[in-house]
Amino acid sequence: MGAVHIRNLRKVYRREAQQVPVLDGLSIDIAEGDFVALMGPSGSGKTTLLNLIGGIDQPTSGEVVVSGTDIGRMKGGKLAKWRSRNIGFIFQLYNLIPVLTAFENVELPLLLTKLSKKERREHVMASLGVVGLTDRIDHYPRQLSGGQEQRVAIARAIVSDPALLLADEPTGDLDAKSAQEILTLLQRLNKEFKKTIVMVTHDPHAAERASRLVHLDKGVLEATPATAAAAR
């Protein structure tokens, strides 16, 4: 579970009359339990790739198989359901719903399941325990620091126990110390909880925490030698 298999992936955006190819015949395999850092200049298509893997965008052509499911052909409601069970998302910004407490934010994905209130509570508390925020359950996002907010977002991403976590510049908006904490947490989720992780980042230090580094440039993956990070 959590493995990603991509073949000849193309994504073309239409801007007015023009066709803008963002991903152009991209192929990559990500093994179960891998922690991949995805780097590349701005506009190179990193977010687009992540969105395609996560099933919140649809490929123009090509094959996207995640955890054994070909999601390129899935649509609407079915895709939404699949996503809620198989993928955890962590974004750079605007992750949390401001009118809900940390607890309620983490609980959100579980509201779509048949779990009882008591079971939901257990799952939420377990997730918040993993990110070390059980003492902040009744805090609203504005009462949390940036790093804490991001940890709540991670707790929410893992609460329904998906095999694959997708993080789009999760430390992009944080100070160095908080960023370190988040990266340590992601590493732990990878090692201890066996989550497969794909993380987009601009920060080479962040990338070092991953076990594999992939460069994307102009929609094409650059052959990357086994990185120093992987050796470490």
Binding site: N51, I56, R83, L93, N95, P98, E104, L108, L112
Partner: protein, 387 residues
């Protein structure tokens, strides 16, 4: 409903906007309820009227009398089943503020023709046996504490009293009613007692208005025409109309109030719609990024749309509940003050139900576009806009 709290938090996320919206809805609902109540009160007299009864009055003015001599001539006309007559007595009980209608009636024929005034048999005989007797409504008896056998002094104005300036009537009967729109605040006295006094003053043999019972309500217009034709060349010409339009003559004094009220009501509803729609549109637009996040988590468009719609309904229904409560309090407070003009003024279920329908429709209409917007938001587009 596990989303109820989430909906509530969203609805109240901008406190000032939520409060202002709810207040404007409440105010509008109060207005609608009260206006509607006024309309109902105005038309209740007409509703209490009977299609088989015609009213014959002096053509020149309602204030001018008709000769008693017309009675036999009307009675003998085709299509007429019975005739009675009555007169507005005027007068005051102690003070002008204690207003209630006092009507001098030809007792036997009047109560036969108006069975909606329900009087126990023994009380009726007691009333008929005493020319100084009177019949009062249940509510009137409660209001002033009049009991059977009490003497009620009425200061005469239109009709001077036999001695001094006060008429005295003895309560012989109390009527109740089960017919909607019939007023239980009236006093009936004997026209013949009044006429005795007027004869002393050489003004006898005059009555205020005749009421005719007809055989066939569908012939009302023809009978009315025939009656007026009968007295065409008499010194006092008549104007005959159905009881309903006769009642409406009173209402016309107020202009076409019902129409005005509806126009105002419609304007209020429209203004309200704008307020609610604006609130919801702003709320949904601000939340585009959050909607994208929720979709990413697996929330379907239909669910998100329903949540937005529910939020809109929550605001209007809370506003309605407050408004309806206020209207109830206001109507209770006001009904005492205006019972003089509108004796049947009371908030009924109908305006409350109507205003609930209005609140729900406004909530739905103002929520539907934001709901569709939420349902249709595409995650990638929404994320790009905010990033």
């Amino acid at each position: 409903m596990k989303f109820l709290r989430f909906i509530w938090r969203n609805a109240t996320r901008n406190k000032r906007r939520a409060i202002l919206t709810v207040i404007s809805i409440s105010v509008a609902i109060v207005t609608i309820c009260i206006l509607q109540t006024i309309v109902v009160a105005f038309s209740s007299g007409a509703r209490a009227s009977d299609a088989s009864r015609l009213v014959v009055r002096n053509k020149v003015s309602l204030m001018l009398p008709l000769p008693l001599a017309y009675q036999q001539r009307i009675e003998s006309m085709a299509g007429v089943k019975a005739v009675t007559w009555w007169d507005w007595f005027g007068g005051n009980y102690q003070d002008k503020k204690n207003f209630f209608a006092k009507i001098a009636v030809e007792a036997e024929s009047y109560f036969r023709m108006y069975p909606e005034f329900e009087i126990p048999k023994d009380q009726m005989s007691a009333f008929l046996a005493d020319r100084r007797g009177c019949v009062i409504g249940q509510k009137l008896s409660e209001k002033f504490g009049f009991k059977l056998g009490d003497t009620v002094p009425i200061i005469g104005d239109i009709y001077p009293a036999p001695s001094g300036d006060t008429w005295e009537f003895v309560v012989k009967a109390i009527y109740t009613t089960t017919k909607i729109g019939v007023d239980e605040n009236r006093m009936f006295l004997h026209w013949k007692y009044l006429d005795e006094r007027m004869t002393e003053l050489s003004r006898g043999g005059l009555i205020g208005v005749y009421t005719i019972q007809i055989d066939d309500p569908s012939k009302a217009a023809a009978v009315a025409k025939a009656v007026d034709a009968e007295f065409e060349n008499s010194p006092e010409q008549t104007l005959t109309e159905t009881e309903e339009s006769f009642q409406m003559d009173f209402v016309k004094m107020w202009g076409n109030i019902a129409f005005l009220v509806r126009v105002i009501g419609a304007a209020v509803v429209f203004a309200l719609l704008l307020v609610a729609a604006n609130t919801m549109a702003m709320a949904a637009r601000e939340r585009t990024a959050e909607i994208a996040i929720l979709k990413t988590l697996g929330f379907r468009g239909a669910l998100l749309g329903s949540l937005v719609l529910a939020e809109s309904l929550m605001l209007t229904i809370v506003g309605w509940a407050i408004g309806a409560g206020l209207a109830w309090v206001v109507c209770l407070g006001v009904s005492g003050m205006i019972s003089r003009f509108l004796p049947t003024f009371a908030l009924t279920l109908a305006p409350i139900a109507l205003s609930l329908v209005i609140a729900v429709v406004i909530g739905a209409v103002s929520g539907v576009f934001p709901a569709l917007h939420a349902a249709r938001t595409r995650i990638v587009d929404a994320m790009r806009k905010v990033a």
